[in-house]
Symmetry: C2
Subunit: 495 residues, 2 copies
């Protein structure tokens, strides 16, 4: 079978960058999974120190190659050296954080439930609830984080810390960077005396991804990308003779609700902050704020909200977004914005642009229009935001319910306790993975308290997170040992 090669592109010009790169054949994909399967035998039984050492070595290698990797990433993504250096730092931090969790024994913790004498239901045998690694994980890299959600990103780090090898499908948007990262990984594994199958790289398109997810030896999938792509892969995971967990972090419109009082006092500052968040990274973040909900309770509030929208438009007009990641994403941005106009949204800022860098877009619609047109609730990936004007807190909560699922909701003006604040907090918690009470949703802290994943369509697995310490849990399955012999107990299941 012949696979189509991938032609790397300059993100800033859309022009070819070097030679086309060969993609993996089916036989090569199968061999990659077999290699990971072979590595699983020893890695699942490895101790925390071994896992930590590998993750730390990978972090150090990333940092040591910074001067090579960042320019490679910049050519293919146009994200700029400041952002990319910061993202590399974050990626190294993440690898070390999961190293620390493995070293602290988190993957090996167990709940000891000693025997209780007597007849059931009160009496019961000795039980120890421990966890086992799932097996080789298929990891699908994201386009928009060439380091932090890519080859050595959070999914890879958490899977390795949990005891699972990873088969990484590189994103076709940054194949040269991915190959350089694969090479670095190979050197680290060899220098560490660890099996090459612990992290195996695959270059390919949709067909390669489907082949990978269908492989009987793949035990779980982690994906960061579009809702449509994630839904298709999830269907594949589910259609297998033996279905497997599919952890998809998908599209999200991240509503921001700004109460009138806070805009009256801090409107100018917040308009600048919000415009910065909307255009950050050319709006190519899953946490980019796509919808701004304003409450026009009375004429004074309406006037204040009008002024805020005016200031936001001015700040956006002054922004200069950089080129988008790929020509396909640039086209999709225009298509998404056109769908807003077709659904009756009013253009507040809509300057034409034909180059790889789009102009920021600001649109407005009333609550009834937002509720009526599902297209207005679809994510537009890029520097665009939709202002929704509503008349009451009730309407604002109805808007959130209509969105249904989002990675984040931001509430500005809920600093003091009130019935309205409670209603909004409850509505936000009901449909988001993270609720912010200040600041902007872009920037997802790598921390113990993080939750990155909300109800559909923002995630296929909203009970899990793809960022933060709990990301580890995705790759460990609980097992109860009943009346386990003494020799087994100190191992906590690592046999």
């Amino acid at each position: 079978m012949t696979m189509t090669p991938i032609q790397p592109l300059h993100a800033r010009t859309g022009q070819p960058l070097g030679e086309p790169l060969p993609t993996a054949t089916n036989a090569q994909i199968d061999a990659a999974v077999d290699l990971a399967h072979a590595a699983f035998a020893s890695w699942q039984a490895s101790d925390g120190a071994t896992r930590g050492a590998l993750l730390r070595a990978l972090a150090a290698a990333l940092e040591a190659r910074r001067d090579t990797l960042v320019p490679l990433a910049d050519d293919e993504t146009a994200l700029g050296p400041v952002r990319l250096n910061g993202e590399l730092d974050r990626t190294a931090f993440q690898l070390r954080r999961f190293a620390a969790l493995a070293e602290a024994g988190v993957p090996f913790t167990a709940l000891d439930d000693p025997a209780v004498p007597g007849a059931p239901p009160v009496g019961h045998p000795a039980l120890q609830r421990t966890r086992v690694p799932l097996g080789p994980v298929a990891m699908f890299s994201a386009s928009n984080f060439p380091f932090a959600f890519s080859v050595l990103g959070g999914d890879t780090a958490s899977a390795l810390a949990a005891g699972c090898p990873v088969v990484v499908k590189a994103h076709p948007g940054h194949p040269r960077l991915s190959l350089a990262t694969f090479e670095l990984i190979g050197q680290v594994l060899q220098a560490s005396g660890l099996p090459a199958g612990l992290i195996v790289g695959v270059l390919g398109g949709v067909d390669a991804g489907v082949r990978l997810i269908r492989h009987p030896r793949i035990a779980a999938c982690a994906f960061t990308g579009s809702t449509r792509g994630g839904a298709a892969l999830q269907a594949e995971a589910q259609a297998r003779p033996r279905p497997i967990p599919f952890y998809g972090e998908l599209g999200s419109i991240n509503p921001v609700i700004a109460l009138p009082a806070v805009l009256a006092t801090r409107g100018a500052e917040l308009a600048t902050t919000l415009a910065g968040s909307i255009t950050l990274g050319c709006g190519q973040f899953c946490t980019s704020p796509g919808v701004l909900v304003l409450i026009d309770g009375d004429a004074a509030q309406r006037a204040g909200n009008d002024a805020f929208v005016q200031a936001l438009g001015d700040a956006l007009r002054a922004a200069q977004p950089h080129p988008m990641l790929t020509p396909g994403m640039r086209r999709a941005f225009d298509t998404g914005v056109a769908a807003w106009w077709a659904a009756g949204a009013q253009p507040l800022l809509n300057e034409s642009s034909s180059g790889p860098a789009p102009r920021p877009v600001l649109a407005q619609v009333d609550a009834a229009g937002f509720l009526q047109h599902p297209a207005l609730r679809d994510e537009v990936f890029g520097p665009a935001a939709l202002v929704v004007r509503c008349g009451s807190i009730e309407q604002a909560t109805a808007l959130l319910a209509a969105v249904g699922g989002s990675l984040t909701v931001t509430l500005w003006g809920a600093e003091t306790d009130s019935a309205d604040a409670r209603r909004l907090v409850r509505a936000a918690m009901a449909m988001a993975g993270r609720v912010l009470f200040g600041g902007v949703p872009t920037g997802v802290a790598v921390a113990a308290g993080q939750q990155h994943g909300g109800p559909w369509p923002s995630s296929t697995a909203p009970m899990t997170t793809s960022v933060g310490d709990a990301a580890l849990d995705r790759f460990l399955r609980p097992v109860a040992l009943q009346d386990a012999p003494a020799w087994l107990m100190p191992l906590h299941g690592r046999v």
Copy 2:
């Protein structure tokens, strides 16, 4: 739309029991969900004491009605008063256990992650990782546990403790018992001054279940039943415009691996114990041991294993299973056993029986035959077991891998540390939710350390358990609060 009424049947005779019972119309199903949705508004914000009081009142009401409920259950299931009284005790115990968890604040625990000053990735805002109840849960009762996995069973108890109302679809195998339980629930809710929507009962067949799972206000599903039925409902949950979690506890063949040494010393006792487990409740347990793996390493071991199989057959021949739960399950048992013979299994015990009570069945096959015929790895629900003879530990682990997923694996003879024991333990943990080192898999302790759910086909959600304290986690979704105001913090998300 006209729904087919359900005709209750005497389980012992298959004859009609009373009048046909009307099933819910689509409008009634929708109304039931709307009622649960309305109750969710206050229940999600209820405190642990309120939840505990309801669960305790339900447990007390079950016990108070024991003399009415147990005979109703016995007529419809033929499980007998001893087992049914024990099951009612277990159900009350379970309700009180989840009451205690709610009272102890388990659903309200949160992880506080204070702000760290500085730039990211080290610095981050204050985060609090808390959990919110999902919303109304559709609960599908099981046929084989008319109390413990039915209307007031573990799924209902854990969902209520988590803050979720429940819409229960009664199992058509025990509709009269279900109606009596619904009535009891209505009285408890009224006496407690709680909304009728907290637990709403629905009587119906497959159509009613599909209607329920498709309802946009249903937030999750819990199901205990066959692999085929569970797979179909899971596909429905996944095909919704907004997919929801589907917790299906499905079929399982629960391999028992007995090493030669333990049979040489304790064979007679273990044959009796195993026969008791195979025929317990007429084999109608998801944890019924369906496959017995014996290792014929040499001639002496083969002879010992032969003697054990002989003793097991004798013990099974002496058993007198009671009638099966329904005529359909009785027919399915014959069909399942016939599939074994068609796949080349050798009948060791195969007495004909045409009544509602089947005769125990024992079959034997070699490892190659077991690996070759997938039909031999399908669950046969009822008092039947398949002996698989293999030549080595390697072959035994290959058999487990071929089974792929099971609620339990039982290892007899792994009391001392050895390479063989480690290999078996690892293979068992890789494909089971619970690994036993003694005793038999029937009897699932309601305990903190329990894990009831293994890889497909034994569960649709092997990262979760349907028995034990962690069952609560299925109905709570993590949410991170970022920079939450002081007024919100002591509430831990209960707004």
